[in-house]
């Protein structure tokens, strides 16, 4: 019996799971199904969060509060931040691409804990629906996504409690995912595959998951204390009862600054996968890329108080956090220079995936420069909590992470669906997004420097014109979604057949059919020890076609 059982269950096991499109609505344990569930669910919330951004920009067309009630405006901005962070970027750059790609990259047939994986995903839709429905039922939270007490204690309690519950659920989902990624990357590697042979996205996810597991529980504890303050009238953060509101800020930012790296490190990893394939060159400086990810993880945990330079932090603390924050620029800079060196001397296909990746580099460099500036206490004291900060972090999370999400969709769509996306629509999408994004957020730097605080429904009339320019950019960003949506829907039915490996890539997910079968490969997983083994070695270059500088560089 013990001998025959595997033979009998092996062909039957796929049918234990629903097949066809219904499996995407089921408690499937297939990592590819879960990855797609994360992606589509995240994108739906992106559209909702985007509609909220549209409402905010409409309100800001005029200096007076005329489009919606003031408390509704605060609810919308709170929901916009929460949805975009916890329901779109974090689940998609981690959950969607992590689940889809990591098992391929380590040569496994699924994640380490498939059921936990499904649980982690299925926490998200109810949490998201609960959060958004709170707006219609009781009125949503209105204290910003930071929920600083005492404001969060004094605003209507029901909305705030629902906000806390849904963020707790989403944080739980994130922790489950993080544990799963760490276990998969460290324990499920195909025999013979060494850590330093893994594709860069695995390293990025390892670093991210460490941050998730270390810092998300702190947020959870903090929010539980906050909910006690609201419901049970305890006094952790209530100054009227001897509590300290600054303690909340420390605890909150202990998670929420690493959260920035939870949103951008996976994006760094994805770009490191996309660029070498389309540049036909190895990823430049693999080892330094790995070390810089780990340096960002370590530094990212000790910079949180730079969000609190105006909150009465003692001078020594300001000095320490300034230096620590500014030094994150060093490992981040290494990564950017390595990508530039990857581009240099390549045979770059200028397709949508590359354009979005390069758009990401441009935007993120600007966001990084303003970030180093913001780390300087005297600079921050002026622009803290202004539109300068709004511009800065949108350059990081939208110009950074969201651009990479789009680049990744253009890159992996042929693998996931088996059909190619339309390149013309893709380039149109890039053009509209890039122009719209910069038109929307670049002017906001000036607004912040000149005196417009963030989170306001009404502002000084002198800022009206620049706000209207910004809103026009937001409209362009909204329009840019249309060609993308049409592209992904129409190409699923009418796109050109992609074949197994349209990009001639070397990483393991391309060494199977498109879309891949359940359990990823027929037969043994391939052993890929050189995931970036592209390129012609220098001694094989045709001397007649190579330019002098090529030879000079290769001689180094």
């Amino acid at each position: 019996m013990t001998i025959t059982a595997p033979q009998k269950t092996a062909p039957a096991s796929p049918s234990l799971q629903p097949t066809g499109w219904l499996r995407y609505l089921s408690f499937s344990v297939d990592h590819k199904v879960i990855g797609l569930q994360y992606l589509v669910c995240g994108f739906a919330f992106y559209l909702i969060g985007g509609a909220m951004a549209g409402a905010i920009r409409t309100e800001l067309l005029s200096p007076v509060s005329d489009f919606m009630a003031r408390d509704v405006y605060n609810q919308i901005l709170t929901l916009h931040g929460t949805v975009m962070i916890f329901l779109w970027i974090v689940p998609v750059v981690n959950g969607a691409f992590g689940n889809y790609l990591i098992p391929f990259y380590v040569g496994a047939r699924d994640m380490a804990y498939p059921r936990l994986n499904a649980v982690a995903f299925w926490l998200i839709p109810p949490a998201g629906l609960m959060l958004i429905s709170s707006y219609f039922i009781t009125g949503a939270a209105q204290s910003g996504w930071t929920a600083y007490p005492p404001l969060s204690i004094t605003t209507p309690a029901t909305g705030q409690i629902i906000w806390i519950l849904s963020v707790l659920l989403l944080g739980g989902s994130s922790i489950f995912g993080g544990i799963n990624f760490i276990a998969t990357i460290l324990k499920l590697r195909r025999p013979g595959l060494k850590l330093m042979q893994l594709p860069m996205y695995c390293w990025a996810m390892l670093g991210t998951s460490i941050l998730v597991v270390l810092s998300t529980p702190v947020l959870a504890g903090t929010l539980i204390m906050l909910s006690f303050d609201i419901v049970a009238h305890t006094g952790f953060f209530n100054p009227g009862m001897g509590g300290n509101v600054v303690v909340y800020q420390h605890l909150f930012w202990f998670y929420s600054h690493p959260a920035v790296y939870i949103m951008v490190l996976p994006a760094f990893g994805l770009v490191s996968e996309i660029l070498p394939v389309h540049c036909r060159k190895p990823l430049f400086g693999y080892t330094t890329m790995v070390y810089s990810i780990m340096a960002i993880v370590v530094l990212g945990l000790v910079v949180w108080a730079h969000h609190m330079f105006t909150s009465g932090t003692p001078p020594w603390m300001r000095l320490f956090f300034t230096i620590a924050t500014a030094f994150i620029a060093v490992p981040t800079g290494i990564k950017f220079f390595n990508w530039l060196a990857t581009l240099w001397g390549g045979r770059i296909s200028l397709n949508s995936a590359v354009l979005f990746s390069c758009g990401f580099i441009v935007n993120f460099v600007l966001g990084g420069i303003t970030g180093v500036a913001l780390a300087q206490v005297p600079f921050d004291v002026h622009v803290h909590d202004t539109y300068f900060v709004v511009a800065h972090f949108h350059y990081i999370v939208y110009g950074g992470s969201v651009f990479v999400i789009f680049a990744s969709i253009y890159h992996w769509y042929p693998k996931i669906i088996g059909r190619m996306l339309d390149e013309h629509l893709g380039r149109l999408h890039f053009l509209l997004t890039f122009v719209g994004f910069n038109l929307c957020f670049a002017p906001q730097h000036w607004l912040g420097l000149n005196g417009m605080p963030r989170r306001v429904a009404e502002y000084d009339p002198q800022f009206e014109l620049v706000n209207q320019i910004s809103s026009a950019g937001a409209l362009l960003m909204a329009i840019s979604t249309l060609p993308f949506l049409w592209n992904v829907i129409a190409s699923a039915f009418f796109g050109a057949i992609a074949g197994d490996n349209p990009w001639r890539a070397l990483t393991p997910e391309w060494l199977t059919s498109s879309p891949p079968p359940v359990e990823n490969w027929k037969g043994d997983p391939p052993l890929v020890t050189h995931p970036y083994g592209y390129g012609t070695p220098a001694d094989e270059i045709d001397l007649n076609s190579a330019s002098g500088s090529d030879l000079w560089r290769s001689g180094q």
């Binding site: 509101v245 060159k281 220079f337 045979r347 770059i348 600079f379 803290h384 909590d385 000149n450 592209y534």
Partner: protein, 261 residues
């Protein structure tokens, strides 16, 4: 080279900031120009490099081969680790110096030093806030005290010298002012863009903010921390008067005992 010069020129000559109206604002602007120059050089350089690479190394029709198999280059890696590290260290030390000149590094409970400094320090209630506001600067002028109360959704200014409350802040030019701030309900932030000053006003944590206005005129006071539905409307203004105008204003608002006398 051209890039560096261009960046310096842009940093020094394009002004994105409002006018400076306090003693620490020009110091701040100095830092801003340095950061702006470095930022411009970096940004233009990197964008230029990307555009050049995308054009120069694009795949031409008919090219099927790969690029060069360059796996890495240790001297280059060391170079672009060391240079940003040095730049960042320089910027950090420079801003530390700027901050010290603004008076931000003054230890708690001690007075200001240097006539050009403006203390930006935070003092908690009970840790010598009274002592601080009475400490004379080296110029010999005691800071003019004003008590600021932040509440949803207004700032109130109480003048101990005259014992009256005003909705608009008047301060004398070229004289240190010491704000003793307190919040009644939630966190607010007291921001005067032209002074380049911002301080959170936190319930349960009385705070002192010192500055010296240097330019007469009327500037906005903005609340910069989300404090409720009318947060956007929580604005006030500060009027920097010449010494004479300020005295007149102070006298005309003085409470009855002074008026009777």
């Amino acid at each position: 080279m051209l890039l560096v010069l261009g960046g310096l020129w842009i940093g020094q000559n394009i002004n994105l900031l409002p006018v400076d109206a306090s003693a620490n604002a020009p110091i701040y602007d100095e830092l801003f120009r340095v950061l702006f120059s470095i930022g411009t050089i970096l940004f233009v350089g990197i964008v230029g490099l990307i555009l050049f690479s995308l054009v120069r190394f694009r795949r031409r029709p008919g090219q099927l081969g790969d690029g060069l198999a360059l796996e890495g280059n240790l001297p280059l890696e060391v170079f672009w680790t060391a240079v940003p590290a040095i730049v960042v260290l320089f910027v950090g030390l420079y801003s530390y110096d700027i901050y010290e000149r603004m008076g931000g590094m003054v230890p708690l409970g001690h007075g200001n030093h240097g006539s050009e400094t403006v203390a930006d320090q935070r003092v908690w209630g009970g840790i010598g806030s009274t002592q601080d506001s009475q400490t004379a600067t080296t110029a010999g002028i005691p800071p003019f005290p004003i008590e600021v109360t932040a509440m949803q959704f207004a700032f109130l200014f109480h003048y101990p010298d005259g014992d009256f409350i005003s909705g608009e802040m008047h301060v004398p030019v070229d004289r240190p002012v010491s704000l003793r701030m307190e919040a009644k309900d939630v966190i607010h932030a007291f921001w005067i863009p032209e002074f380049r000053l911002k301080q959170d006003v936190i319930p349960g944590q009385p705070t002192v903010l010192d500055f010296t206005p240097t330019r007469t005129g009327s500037y906005s006071i903005v609340c910069a921390e989300l404090c409720g539905p009318y947060h956007g409307g929580m604005r006030s203004s500060v009027v920097v008067d010449s010494a004479d105008d300020f005295d007149t204003w102070l006298q005309s608002n003085r409470k009855l005992p002074a008026a009777e006398a």
